[in-house]
């Protein structure tokens, strides 16, 4: 059942390529089935193929993954349109579900590569600067190559690739540090944090405003999810050189991203640079809090970020934009407040978290209110449907965040 959750969008994605006129219906059917079956999806692990773990591949679904999946499905539901992009969107959806559900390190790489390939095809639907797309492709492929090096190191170190089993076998601490640094490097290039950010502004400002929110809110941030997932699996302690490097680069990105977005005149490029700041913050808190807590926080952040940017690009009215922005800051009545509070309960270094948290919220306030008064090219998608999807999902997430609140 859990495997079918990944297989269905891949299968329908390929089938819909042969029925271009029915692509929209097939995409709605696929996402509809996934949303419906989500309520009955059992938690646990399933083996793929004939080999049991440690050798075989398994996919696992726990409550934190399940929480994150629904906003992802909601985002893809709001993206289905009349253009011939829906088959690629379904493959994108499959790769993100694969990243979230897989429990095997090499399988994680496979889903990442599928995400990279499909995300390179999405911008081709419109007139695009070749240099921007070429830069995007080259840096993503380099990120994939470094990911592969980290797999080699991981196999040399652990002798296996199953994420659950890695928790048990920990032979040589020095090699573990190199493995974590290489994996961080791969994920850092993918999400474009400082000093690997040069391609991001050059590429993202050329993408269509219809798909750009997907890149800004989901594709660049899914690297943080993957990083936190692996780091959490091996119970890595950040009190060594790898931890210090990761925290310094993340802290640097948090500030440099905001600074670059502030001085940037082009609004789309400004968004791209601000995503560096967000990624830096997420990488930093991934070193302080457990994976489950980060995932709840990121479910809110991805959802609000995506719909806020979409509303800006649709030139929605100011009341709606302020509503999104205020929800983003974690008002006491919204579930995001509990998600924010959970971060402090889960960490053993609250002071360090408080410093980056205050900076991030401050930057977010300045950036959001500046962008509300900016003029963006419109993409003319339906704001009403997006507001409906957002409201349903935010109510759902708020209830879950309240129920899962540790305090």
């Amino acid at each position: 059942m859990i495997v079918a959750y990944i297989v269905l969008p891949i299968l329908l994605g390929f089938i819909s390529q042969f029925f271009l006129k029915a692509q929209k219906i097939i995409a709605y059917f696929c996402v509809g089935v996934l949303i419906f079956s989500w309520f009955f999806l059992p938690q646990g692990c399933e083996v793929v193929g004939n080999y049991d773990p440690i050798l075989g591949i398994e996919v696992c679904l726990d409550w934190s993954n399940k929480i994150f999946i629904l906003p992802v499905l909601g985002i893809f539901l709001s993206l289905i349109n009349n253009k011939n992009l829906n088959s690629i969107l379904l493959l994108n959806l499959a790769s993100i579900l694969g990243i979230l559900l897989t429990n095997d390190f090499f399988n994680l790489f496979v889903w990442f590569e599928l995400l990279i390939i499909t995300s390179m095809i999405l911008p081709l639907n419109q007139k695009i600067e070749f240099k921007a797309l070429f830069k995007y492709a080259i840096f993503n492929i380099l990120s994939g190559s470094i990911f592969l090096i980290s797999i080699g190191l991981c196999y040399k170190y652990f002798g296996l690739l199953n994420l659950d089993a890695m928790r048990v076998y920990r032979p040589v601490p020095d090699l573990e540090v190199i493995f974590v640094l290489m994996f961080f490097l791969a994920m850092a290039i993918k999400s474009g944090i400082v000093p690997f950010h040069y391609w991001l502004g050059a590429s993202y400002h050329n993408f269509n405003t219809e798909i750009l929110p997907l890149y800004l809110s989901l594709f660049s941030k899914i690297a943080v999810v993957a990083f936190a997932k692996v780091i959490n699996s091996i119970n890595f302690e950040f009190n060594n050189v790898a931890g210090i490097i990761i925290q310094i680069l993340s802290f640097l990105s948090l500030h440099a991203g905001f600074f670059l977005s502030s001085i940037e005149v082009n609004p789309l490029r400004s968004f791209a640079f601000f995503s560096i700041s967000k990624s830096g913050f997420l990488f930093f808190i991934s070193t302080l809090v457990p994976y489950e807590t980060l995932l709840i926080y990121q479910a809110f952040d991805t959802l609000i970020g995506y719909f806020f940017i979409q509303a800006l690009f649709n030139r929605a009215n100011k009341i709606l934009l302020y509503f999104y922005a205020f929800t983003w800051f974690g008002l006491p009545l919204s579930g995001f407040f509990f998600a924010n509070l959970n971060l402090f309960i889960a960490t053993d270094k609250p002071l360090l978290l408080a410093i980056v948290f205050i900076f991030q919220k401050l930057y977010l306030i300045i950036f959001a209110f500046k962008q509300i008064h900016n003029k963006f090219p419109t993409n003319q998608s339906s704001v009403k449907i997006q507001v409906l999807i957002f409201t349903v999902l935010i109510i759902y997430l708020s209830v879950i965040a309240f129920l899962k609140f540790d305090g």
Partner: protein, 113 residues
Amino acid sequence: MESNFFFAVLIGSICGISCYLILQASLIRILLGLAILSNGINLFIFASSTIGTKAPLGKSFHSISDYADPLPAALILTALVIGFGTISWIFSLILRINSRIRCDDIRLIDSEE
């Protein structure tokens, strides 16, 4: 020890050549650099398993230390397929760039466009 040194020099050389090619302005050279880099990394994964030299297919299975680890071969096979897909995509992009603006230099793409 000798085989480890040999692998280290070989992988280092391949990755060095690929880095040199990726830093060039020619699109075809960048493509070649990426293709060579993926092969160097596949070799790195191959070097990560150092058990034995015999193929793990025989019926008589005396000592596990004599046999090669089959998992890296499977990983490399998958990585090769994925690498081929991405390289093909880059190649098709370069063809499209070339058919549109008749240019192989990444520095000139913007001005020609």
